[in-house]
Assembly symmetry: C2
Homo-oligomer: 464 residues x 2
């Protein structure tokens, strides 16, 4: 195998910069082209530092490239959801009955900067900014770029091209428009959009609300969430329908209506967000979409990775983690088939797609769960039972959330199938009055395990 092969990576976001680093560590020549300016040289003002949930699957990738400790220093642990009701009461709902299981808030910009800097430490890595990919000739393994600085276009050649250029991927578009093969593709939008807002630090630089939680103001058809930043601020996101309900993105058009909306629905948040109106009208309204496609690769020439292959909605906090795990899975397939890109790409997609399809579906499920289920008594009873099971039997029980978030040794698909069956088992047992949260916890564990097995068996027979 020739370790001097030239890899062209389109996009230097989280997935692309991690992939560049890993391929450089493996000895490849890597050229990365990014449409945006170098984020390490642009000034990100306080309160605008967007953050993401970072958890075990993402950490597995950081361990692979030797950055576990450096990333840890960027992380703020969040041990659970802090729920805010309409009266401003709060209560904490931990993510797991096991203490060591928590997620982290991390700055997208800081993490991306670290990965870029680590990748560039390798001589055979070059990262070019302000170069937008317009299309990819996947039959010839070349890509057409526009240089935003010189306003000229140029073509780059490579031994293989990997597109990590996000939900609007140029390579995916070339697959679709090229009509050279049957390309299955879907883009599905929710009827809700999102808007980023902020809770600024106190003048002393302190957090205005509890630091180590993911704050959530669930309101049925819409919700507000907040994740902490290292500088004392929180990044806040409003999820709201475009056109349904009393308040929606289409009718929140004046400072008065925005203020009234927050006064009515999020009075405690409004108190610590005096800047809400300014934020609301300064920031764009974003769409929430899921993208799936297949095949990801064309022969051994080109491959889609990260959001370019599988963009998901943010309701499971797994978008970045899934993209990082892509690189771990890709690396494992490289160990097996290095030297034959077509075999690498084929096996990578075969192994990986079932899992990224699963996390896409789980993320949609969670949107409806958060909206419709959180308030129902039977779901609250179920959650209570699951927390008790995880606490008393940490080795024997993991909820769907734990399987997805903290059990990085199993794939998303396995986590989904087992997690869904468990959920159904507990709900069946509760609705038939066969268990209650006052029962002996060992008896509950046995009944849930047995009912879960039955459901999995019956699903298998029915071909589900």
């Amino acid at each position: 195998m020739n370790r001097k092969e030239n890899i062209l990576i389109i996009g230097a976001g989280l997935c692309g910069s991690l992939l560049a680093l890993r391929l450089a560590q493996r000895g490849y020549n890597v050229n990365v082209y990014e449409m945006r300016p170098d984020l390490r040289k642009t000034n990100i003002s306080a309160g605008r530092s967007i953050n993401l949930a970072f958890s075990n699957r993402g950490n597995k990738a950081m361990a692979l490239v030797g950055l576990e400790d450096k990333v840890k220093s960027l992380c703020i642990p969040m041990h659970g959801r802090m729920i805010h009701d309409k009266q401003g009461n709060t209560f904490m709902s931990n993510y797991s009955g096991r203490e060591q299981e928590y997620i982290n808030s991390v700055s997208r910009g800081e993490l991306n900067a670290l990965l870029l800097t680590e990748a560039e430490k390798h001589d055979h890595v070059n990262i070019y900014f302000n170069k937008k990919c317009k299309s990819v000739n996947f039959e010839n393994t070349t890509a057409l770029f526009k240089d935003y600085e010189t306003k000229t276009e140029f073509v780059e050649d490579a031994d293989c091209i990997i597109a990590t250029d996000g939900a609007g991927s140029a390579l995916r578009k070339s697959y679709y428009l090229g009509k050279k093969f049957l390309f299955s593709f879907s883009q599905n939008y929710l009827a809700h959009g999102y808007k980023e807002l902020s809770i600024l630090p106190t003048t002393a630089g302190d957090y205005k609300t509890f630091k180590n939680a993911l704050h959530i103001w669930p309101r049925g058809d819409f919700m507000l969430i907040a994740l902490p930043n290292l500088d004392g601020s929180f990044t806040v996101t409003l999820f709201l329908s475009y056109n349904q309900g009393k308040y929606n993105f289409n009718n929140l058009t004046t400072p008065e209506t925005v203020t009234n909306f927050f006064k009515e629905e999020f009075p405690d948040a409004l108190k610590i967000m005096p800047n809400v109106v300014e934020d609301f009208f300064k920031n764009p309204t974003g769409a929430l979409g899921t993208i799936k496609c297949s095949p990801w690769h064309f022969k051994g020439n080109t491959l889609l990775m990260g959001d370019a292959a599988h963009a998901i909605v943010p309701f499971y906090g797994q978008g970045m983690n899934a993209s990082f795990e892509d690189v771990v899975e890709f690396d494992a397939v490289l160990n097996k088939h290095e030297g034959n890109w077509e075999n690498v790409f084929t096996e990578y997609e075969k192994n990986r797609k079932k899992d990224t399809d699963a996390i896409a579906d789980l993320a949609i499920d969670n949107f409806y769960e958060m909206r419709d289920h959180v308030g129902q008594a039977i779901f609250q009873e179920k959650r209570k039972i699951e927390m008790a099971l995880e606490k008393e039997y940490p080795e024997d029980y993991a909820s769907k959330y734990s399987l997805v978030t903290f059990n990085e040794h199993i794939g998303y698909q396995e986590a989904m199938l087992k997690g869904r069956a468990q959920d159904k088992a507990i709900l069946n047992l509760l609705s038939n009055n066969l268990i209650s949260s006052n029962d002996d916890i060992k008896i509950i564990l046995d009944k849930v395990s047995s009912e879960t097995e039955t459901i999995l068996k019956e699903n298998k027979i029915a071909g589900l």
Copy 2:
């Protein structure tokens, strides 16, 4: 309301010509543009007359426009599947335990010609052929056409535009490329393609195999089917993987391999298909895709109907029936909201999309059922029980197939939810040895009904 409104219909296929007829009956001025030549003036040779399955939902539409009797004369009843095994043994599996429930083979061309002729009987209907729609300006309610005869392009204006231009719809493409609103869209291909072949009549003009059945040669990973035509021929379709298995479309490249394939797998069919090699290389290999999208309409300007909105795979025999039922549903909404196209289009999509999504999923399910399940003992036992239930309790039991195909008073979604729960109930009861086909049929009915209710209740609680 102004009954002189001008409706532009793109596509004069089965859905478009039926829609034109119905809107003419309601008093609208209708202009239809079709890319192909007038099929009533082209010569369709024997054996090339493609046929389709016509059943209750399609018939509902024919009744609406007063063509039930005329269509009946084009129909060949098929009472069940005639299964052909590898040894050439055949056995008949009826579609229903109720005698009056059967499906029909009908010629696509004859049916389309009838609808065109009936539509053109109305003075205020004009149908233009050889005019291909290239794009639709949905904001201005205009469409751009290319005239294949004069080679010129022209723009047509209308009060509203309805696109019934099939899976490759120009309007749908304009929605997607226009990026004027969030357009959810999916195209998903199966790894199998299809090829049309034929069984010609005897020299005396008779059928070479049993006329009143849908013939099927199931072979696990691939299959052959045949539907009768009025002229004594059968249209045969081979469903086969593009690249998997010993024989596939990619490696069937010589007359010898095609002949060997048929000799090994379909010896009884080969005997009555001396023309198989000629057909095989003359006819293209078609792809099997599912298309879903949303929204179907832009304001009150434009609307997608039929395959343009929801193309499905052919494994439930419901493609044409679903498109015809679209017109029935649209007509019902017109009765309610006539005069306000935006309300008509909005309510039509709201009512209809859940059902076309359901039949798309059912058709995919059936592909896997036919491939993977038909040969399993538990599925055969289930089918036996269902036939007995339908025969003994025709008022109390209808299988999923019957609910979808013969129960046109309920929607596809309801049929799917109930049908799937019933399937799972019978399989659960069988696998737990709680019923057997030797039991008293009344006891089976009660157990199946009760288990089905439990499954539906549990699914509801789980939010499925």
